[in-house]
Symmetry: C2
Subunit: 207 residues, 2 copies
């Protein structure tokens, strides 16, 4: 826990929190300044404008997301069931540590916000999608080798990520319906991850 943050860093953290909670349109420069214990003028001093501040925040969020999957999928010599269990556990751990990320991404993804579209475009140029291709290849090879049922690799990737995300994105609604389950949320998280891996392995591996 580093105590001596710079004003710039404090502002950036405060801005992340504010944008996550309220979205781009709902976020207030005054509130960001308050959270950081600074004043509005400092935000403009360091980041020029609300747009520019938002862009730097959202770019980092997408970069973290891309880097996660780059890393998970970078190894060429994984077996398909290794790929599956590893993707779920790494994604789950990441989501537990950064619960804000899927929310801000889903929210702004469906907003036609030109800043978001620009950032997405930049990142595709820069990082390519080579590692997705690696994962597709691993799954396709698994089918070929009879280690996997005859499933479409792209659909399988969508299945894995969809299962992982749901809990984190729908949490407020789930919490309202199943309050009792959420009193020990750590335990629930573990059960959720087990249930996903269980479904995927039974559903995808041949017997």
């Amino acid at each position: 826990m580093e105590e001596l943050e710079t004003t710039r860093e404090k502002l950036k953290l405060a801005a992340l929190e504010e944008f996550v909670e309220k979205g781009y349109d709902g976020a207030r420069m005054q509130e960001i300044a308050n959270r950081a214990g600074a004043n509005k003028a400092m935000i403009h001093y360091y980041f020029t404008s609300k747009d520019a501040l938002f862009e730097s925040i959202i770019r980092e969020a997408f970069e973290e997301l891309f880097q996660l999957f780059s890393q998970i999928w970078s190894m060429a010599d994984q077996s398909p069931d290794e790929l599956i269990t590893k993707t779920v556990s790494a994604h789950f751990q990441f989501l537990s540590e950064h619960p804000y990320l899927p929310r801000i991404i889903v929210r702004e993804l469906n907003s036609n916000n030109p800043i978001v579209e620009k950032v997405m475009h930049d990142l595709f140029e820069q990082m390519g999608n080579t590692n997705i291709r690696q994962a597709v290849h691993t799954l396709a090879a698994g089918v070929e080798a009879g280690k996997l049922r005859n499933v479409d690799p792209m659909q399988t990737i969508w299945n894995i990520i969809g299962l992982n995300l749901f809990f984190f994105v729908a949490k407020p609604l789930l919490k309202a319906i199943w309050q009792e389950e959420f009193v020990d949320e750590k335990k629930l998280l573990v059960k959720r991850e087990e249930a996903i891996v269980d479904l995927l392995l039974y559903g995808l591996l041949p017997r």
Copy 2:
């Protein structure tokens, strides 16, 4: 296609579109009026305020969602695999016809908007969650009767809904990565549904 809509109806449709695209904070009363070919004053004449307009829109959206699952899960005498295939196909058809719904719900669900919380609270009071219990019961009975592997009913429901939703919520991102697949989106939708049912049946039924 009814041509003689009332101004009130035109405004409501325009408001739905605007709120879906921009969210509560981003939506503009002027833009709603423009879309409807009317003027701002008319919105206040019919709906009093932006808050009240939003509440009526979001309440209808949640009502449709609740009614869908009430209907799907109302039958007590379904077999578990009937429940699964029927839930996927009905949810998928609904999402195809109302692609706006998951977006507005996911966005506002994570926004702490008090209007959304009020509407959710009202609906739980009024509709209860008896039909979710019905679905849980059907799945638990399936496990008991050996028609289903030993899986947790709640987790299974989350799996089904998570798989269904992902495609519709992540569409902008998926489209950016897999452009080619989206040239025939109807076909892709059919393949997506098949892949989900395939995973669920193989993953949940015993062999």
